[in-house]
Structure formats: C-alpha cells, structure tokens
C-alpha cells in the first residue's frame, strides 16, 4: 500500500482532484502566454461582455474565452475567421473543461494587411533615398541621452541599470510614452518632438544642462502587433527629422522594424543599445591615464635627447679650437714636407743635368783630341794657331801633345791641301 492511502480517510473528492489538476495546468509556463493560430468557431459574444468561442484547425480544437474588457476585439472577427491569439491555459473546475483564456486576439488578415503596409512604407522610403542618407555619427561620449520608452517598463529599468553600470550618473532624460496600442505612434512622435527641443542649445542653456545629443527609442520584445507603432510612417518620419543621432532599440534580436531601417543605429534590444552607445567610463579613464603617462614619458625622453645633443655640442665646442689648430699645424707640416721634397727633387734634377754636362765637356776636352794623335800648336805667347795665316818661317811655336809639349820652328808654309 502506498503511503498516500495511509493518510487518506477515503476516496478523494472530485472537486479537490480537479483543483489539483488546475494548479498543475496553470503553473506550467509552457501553457502561459502562448501565441496560437487557428480558425474561430462557435463565436458567441454574450451580453455580460464575455466572449466564448473555439479555436480549431484540422488536427484539434479547444474552447476559449475572452473576459470582458480584457482586450480589444476586432469587429471583423466572426465565425470562420483565421486568428492569432495570445492565451494561457486554465481549467474551468465547474465543468472540468480545459479552456484558453485569451489576452489578445488579432485576425490574421489584419496582420497581413499591416505587413503589406509596412512593405509599402519601406518601398516608399527607399524610393525617397532615405535609406541611403548619411547616418549621423553616435557621439563617443554622450553628454545627455534622451530615452524615449515606456514609463516604468522593463526595457527602461534594464537600460537604467546598464547605464549605471557603465557610466554612473550619466546625464539622461527619460521621456515616458506609450509604446503599444492605438495611441503609441502619436505619443512616440510627441516624445521625439520633445527630444528635438531638448537638443536645441538655446533651450538647453535655459534649462541649465547640455543639449540632448543622443536619443534612444526603446521598447522590449512583444508580438508583431505590440511592436507595430514602430512600423508606422509618422514614427519613421519623426526619426528621420531628428537633428541628433537616434538609436532604434525595439523588440528582440530578430525583429526588424521600419524604425530600425531609418535610425542612425539599430540595436537589437534596449540593453544592446546601451552596450553600444554608452562607453564604460572606467575603460575610458584608464585609456586617458595611459595616454597621459605615454605623453609624459615620451616628452621626458625627448627632452633628455635634446639635452644629450646639447652636451655633445658643448664638448665639441670646447675642443673645436684645438682641433682647428691641430688641423692647421698638420697642414703646415704637410706643406713643408712637400716643399722639402720639391726642393730635393729640383736639386737632384740639377745635379743630373750637371753630370750630363760634365760628361759632354769631358768628351770634347782638347786633351781627348790630343790623345787620339792630334797635336795643338801655340805661338810663343800661348795663342792657339789654327791657321797658316800670320805664320812666318823661322817663327818659334810650341807643339802640344797628349803627354807633353815640344818647342819647334816653322820651316815652310803651304796653303791647305798643297803639301
């Protein structure tokens, strides 16, 4: 026997059992806020304001209820309409029926119509060249961010928390607007108009704060209809008219909205927007400290280099005169050596010349002629006689030979060639 039967006094009353089942059904997150698609049957709107129907397709069906005032029901919904509902499962204990409690119902045709309008708007903006325009650059350090988003929304508190993490005390203005429902587009446009005013330097001066220099238009995720305001033309035009950079941060990763296409930056979620536009202050400060240090070190080193160049120049200046003198002295020495050399060479050339002359002289000395057998005749007074002219018979002459001389007397005079 199980322990359960030990504590139960008898069979479980069905009502208690049904409540147990109900608790299980309503607690399962799988069965909460589910988007479901199907066809409407047995559509009944009661005078009490509640609406009952069944949602069906070929493979199954389930009863559904829309409690009075819970959501706006499109008047086009009727028997056979294709609809998308957002619903949670509940169990109606009285009847033991499992039923869907609907929070939202949209005819599929409406969504189709919206999609068509969105595509047309995108086409139109593309034709107008709005997607090709230069995007306004996001300021590296925004001085005043305007957050246009749902007041008290989860998206807002996520953004606030992230901003405080990254840049505590970063100046920001939250402009709370409706971000879904029929009035959302109008409120977003009004909110953006306010950011335009707050970005005006004159207006900002009056308020005693820097002008808004960045706008984040944010909203958390939701169904396509929830996000629809961001696909509407007035919102797109207001974004395009923004004089300051604007970040579109709507929905989840995969939702691409017209606001994303016309904004200066598209963030996939509000948190992503903060990550991308709010720098981490401590990182920036670290960077600036590092730059400061590098600047100081580099300048000091540069100054030291300059000082060193100066010191080298100074020492060179001190020895420069000596070096100059030495160089002059060297020049003098070199020149005197060259002079000496030149003189020496000149002398040598002269002596060679002399020797040659001497040799020539020696070659033509009369003694050499006498040695070859010629003799030289001189008159008594020493005059060399080289002609018969003036000679007289009986005249005393001296005959010179190589090895001596002899006195002689002219006996006969013959003219040349007649011996």
């Amino acid at each position: 026997m199980s322990s359960r039967s030990d504590v139960t006094t008898g069979p479980l009353p069905i009502g208690q059992f049904v409540q147990m089942v109900r608790r299980t059904v309503i607690q399962d997150p799988l069965f909460r806020n589910q988007a479901l698609k199907g066809e409407v049957t047995q559509w009944k709107q009661y005078a009490s304001g509640h609406t009952y129907f069944s949602l069906r397709d070929n493979d199954g069906q389930m009863n559904a209820v829309i409690w009075k005032g819970k959501c706006i029901v499109d008047s086009s919904i009727k028997e056979g309409s294709e609809v998308v509902v957002l619903a949670s499962l509940d169990l109606y204990a009285k009847r033991g029926n499992i039923q869907l409690v609907v929070d939202k119902i949209e005819p599929v045709s409406v969504l189709g119509e919206l999609e068509k309008k969105k595509r047309e708007l995108i086409e139109q903006l593309k034709r107008e060249g709005e997607f090709d325009r230069a995007r306004r650059p996001i300021p590296p350090v925004p001085k005043h961010i305007a957050l246009v988003t749902g007041a008290g929304s989860a998206a807002l508190s996520d953004m606030q928390r992230l901003i405080e993490n990254r840049w505590p005390g970063l100046r920001r203005t939250v402009i709370g607007v409706l971000v879904q429902g029929p009035k959302a587009a109008e409120e977003i446009v009004r909110g953006l108009a306010i950011t335009r005013k707050l970005s005006d330097p004159k207006q900002a001066e009056k308020r005693g704060e820097p002008p808004v220099d960045l706008v984040i238009l944010g909203r958390g995720g939701g169904s396509p209809e929830d996000l629809w305001a961001f696909n509407l033309e007035p919102v797109a035009r207001a974004i395009l008219a923004s004089p300051i950079p604007l970040v579109s941060a709507v929905g989840h990763e995969s939702d691409i909205l017209v606001s994303d296409l016309v904004a200066d930056l598209r963030a996939s979620t509000p948190s992503d927007a903060i990550e991308r536009v709010v720098p981490a202050r401590n990182e920036i400060e670290l960077f600036l400290d590092e730059m400061n240090e590098r600047l100081t070190i580099a300048s000091r080193r540069q100054m030291a280099d300059c000082r060193q160049v100066l010191a080298v120049l100074q020492s060179r200046l001190l020895v420069a005169p000596i070096i100059g003198l030495n160089r002059a002295k060297g020049e003098v020495i070199k020149l005197s050596a060259r002079l000496k050399m030149a003189a020496h060479q000149s002398l040598a050339r002269q002596s060679t010349r002399l020797a040659q002359l001497e040799a020539s002289l020696i070659a033509i000395h009369p003694q050499r002629v006498l040695e070859r057998g010629y003799s030289m005749t001189q008159s008594a007074d020493g005059t060399v006689l080289s002609s018969i002219i003036g000679l007289k018979s009986g005249q005393d002459v001296i005959l010179n030979f190589a090895d001596g001389s002899a006195g002689a007397q002219i006996k006969k005079i013959n003219s040349e060639g007649k011996k």
């Binding site: 300021p139 590296p140 350090v141 925004p142 001085k143 005043h144 007041a151 840049w167 005390g169 970063l170 100046r171 920001r172 203005t173 939250v174 402009i175 709370g176 607007v177 409120e187 009004r190 909110g191 306010i194 005013k197 207006q203 009056k206 308020r207 704060e209 820097p210 202050r281 920036i284 400060e285 600036l288 730059m291 400061n292 590098r294 600047l295 580099a298 300048s299 080193r301 540069q302 100054m303 280099d305 300059c306």
Partner: protein, 74 residues
Amino acid sequence: MSNDKPTYSEAVQRLETIVSTLERGGMGLDETLKLYEEGAELLTLCKHELAAAEGKLNELQLDEIETELESEKQ
C-alpha cells in the same frame, strides 16, 4: 584641426598622433614642448568632456515635459 574646440574624438585622435610622434622621437626642444603642451591641453579637455556627461536624471511624462517646455518659451 579647426580653430574651434575639438570634439572628444578629434581630441583623442590628435592626442594619439602627438604621443606616437613623441615616442618616435627626433624632434627639437621647441617642438617637443609645443607637442607636450598641446597633448596636456587635449587630455584636460577629454577629462572635462567626461565630467560633462554627468548630471541629474530627469524622468518626465509627456504631458509634464510638454507643459514645462511651453512655459519656458514665454
């Protein structure tokens, strides 16, 4: 750079150029001093810009802020 006060990103860009120029070395004393002074000024400016981002947190509903802005105009 223009004569106007540089923006934060212009200041950072110029600061990086100055620091790497100084780190490369090879300039005279005049230029070193000039660059250092400019760099120090840019640093001050950057820090000032950071401080300027701090401020009060406004949280306003559409109607209040619109009324406020209207009243300021008069």
